[in-house]
């Protein structure tokens, strides 16, 4: 991955949007999240990776301070999926929900779950995550 990164990202163009991404609280799985982050960078997004086991407050602060277009959350455990909903609620409480589009993903996550917690989009894999992200920021699909 480290070998590919410069090839994927050094295009020199203006970023088409900013994405803050992280694995949710209590979850230590980051392979899939890293893949998504890398593909997004490759597609021209500026990506800020908060890492794993990310508390809702940390997501909220990042949205407040970095003002991203997109917030991505990843969960691989059925036990940690609710932390996505908690984070969205924390964004609402902080009055920031309208400032950012929320994308969710990870093996157990579904479109139905995405709708239930009030996220804006779900993608089953990294490639479709890029398409969805481009759509959300109003950029043409590649």
């Amino acid at each position: 991955m480290a070998v590919l990164k410069p090839l994927l990202t050094e295009t020199g163009a203006e970023p088409i949007g900013k994405l803050v991404i992280g694995t949710v609280k209590g979850d230590l799985h980051d392979i899939g999240k890293n893949l998504v982050a890398m593909m997004m960078e490759g597609a021209g997004f500026q990506v800020v990776d908060l890492g794993l086991d990310t508390q809702p407050e940390k997501f909220v602060n990042a949205v407040r301070e970095l003002n991203p277009d997109l917030l991505g959350m990843s969960a691989l455990l059925t036990t940690t999926m609710p932390a996505m909903g908690d984070t969205i609620n924390a964004l609402i409480e902080a009055g920031l929900r309208d400032r950012v589009k929320v994308m969710v993903g990870g093996a157990p996550v579904t479109q139905g779950f995405c709708d239930e917690i009030g996220a804006d989009a779900y993608s089953p894999d990294a490639a479709s995550a890029v398409d969805t992200a481009l759509e959300l920021v109003g950029a043409p699909k590649k």
């Binding site: 209590g26 230590l28 059925t78 036990t79 999926m81 157990p108 996550v109 579904t110 779950f113």
Partner: protein
């Protein structure tokens, strides 16, 4: 006979009858046959604690409580087979040797979160890349003399100054190991004789490539190695084969009735490319599976993730030699490619059991039974291990609807 004795004789007899019936049902399906109804064998982990009304910390600290929770859950739900203890990490053992890699509930993670394996960052992998030759030269020696001192806070490496803690760790670790592992025999006896439930698997197998990623190099380390030192990866996988074969065989069911559990963590797409699967994973796994089968042992492929790309490869194995468990693999494709030779299990998404509605669960079960279980050769289970987020009501729906709709 006193009334009490005769009552217990009746109960014992009926447990024995229940055992015989469930055993027949489960083993018939394992052999890809058609039993009286679809057997239920959920891989329940922390869910058992939830059912027994205790915390994850309690079942992790006290294996007797964990065993009891398993027996109670299996009996109360009327399941055919269960794993003797899926919350297999026991604090007594991990703390006796100061094992670094588990987060234990109540000690390192909150008391109501399941125990968890923690993978070190790439640069702190348990095995650095320079160690390949030592591992290849003597895998068992390497694990004992180099790997163990690294993963333990107390064990010192040979040649380093001895410590009292080192001595104690072998003493208390050995005692802990003995009492815990011996207790499994008793647990299995009680499952059979008191609960009439079949212990679902016996023994453990891991693939050489998986163990390399899992407990030695870490996933990222292995990815670099697949670029930079492919010959070492191949030699290490080959060197690990006898060790892993031996581990699998020594825990296997002497009666050859239930399969060896084979945990397939990290060798499907996109974790590993199809080429690397063909070059490393399969050639160093297949001979182990074939040899176990030659000795009469079936292997349960607990195929975590999506293995669509590899079903045709598995289809080459001898008829009946494996059971294929479905996580995210397309279960209908698995049935088309493997169903004529092997039993399948699983395929009910865990998220459905935690957050789904009863009618969604019923719909999925109907789809599975109609699609893959019509001629037998299917065992009901969730996709992945069932933790304490699964809803008891949903587990009840899974059970009751399978009982109802799964009758042949």
């Amino acid at each position: 006979m006193t009334p009490r004795e005769s009552q217990s004789a009746i109960m014992t007899r009926s447990a024995a009858e229940r055992y015989a019936e469930r055993h027949r049902r489960y083993t018939t399906a394992l052999r890809n046959g058609k039993p009286d109804r679809v057997p239920i064998r959920p891989f329940v982990a922390e869910f058992t604690a939830r059912h027994a009304g205790v915390t994850c910390q309690q079942v992790t600290h006290d294996y007797r409580l964990a065993f009891e929770a398993v027996r109670r859950t299996a009996m109360d739900y009327d399941w055919d087979a269960v794993v003797s203890n899926m919350v297999y990490c026991w604090t007594g053992l991990t703390e006796a040797i100061g094992l670094k890699y588990y987060g234990v509930p109540g000690l390192h993670v909150p008391k109501d979160v399941g125990f968890q394996y923690r993978e070190p960052p790439e640069e702190e992998a348990w095995m650095p890349p320079e160690d390949y030759d030592a591992l290849i030269g003597d895998p068992t020696g390497y694990l004992l003399n180099v790997w163990l001192p690294r993963v333990s806070r107390d064990v010192v490496a040979p040649g380093a100054p001895n410590t009292a803690r080192n001595n104690l760790s072998f003493l208390s670790g050995g005692m802990a190991m003995m009492s815990y592992f011996n207790a499994f025999g008793e647990q299995n006896r009680r499952l059979r004789e008191e609960c009439g439930v079949v212990p679902a698997i016996a023994g453990i197998l891991k693939a050489p490539l998986d163990i390399l990623a899992d407990k030695l190099r870490g996933y990222l380390g292995l990815c670099s190695d697949l670029f930079e030192r492919r010959d070492k990866v191949r030699a290490a996988c080959e060197a690990l084969m006898p060790h892993l074969f031996h581990v699998a065989l020594s825990g296997a069911d002497p009666n050859r009735e239930v399969p060896i559990g084979f945990w397939m963590h990290r060798s499907c797409v996109p974790l590993v490319s199809p080429d690397d699967f063909n070059e490393f994973f399969w050639p160093t796994l297949k001979p182990i599976v074939l040899e176990l089968w030659r000795l009469g042992h079936q292997v349960l492929f607990y195929a975590e993730g999506n293995w669509d790309a590899h079903l045709e490869t598995f289809a080459q194995l001898p008829e009946g030699s494996i059971v294929f468990h479905v996580d995210r693999t397309d279960i209908f494709r698995a049935h088309r490619v493997l169903g004529h030779k092997f039993c399948l299990s699983g395929g009910v998404p865990n998220a459905l059991l935690s957050y789904g509605r009863p009618e969604q669960i019923r719909a999925r079960i109907r789809q599975i039974i109609d699609g893959v279980a019509r001629d037998g050769g299917y065992i009901m289970d969730a996709s992945a291990i069932i933790m304490n987020d699964a809803k008891p009501d949903n587990m009840r729906v899974l059970t009751d609807f399978t009982h109802e709709y799964g009758v042949y």
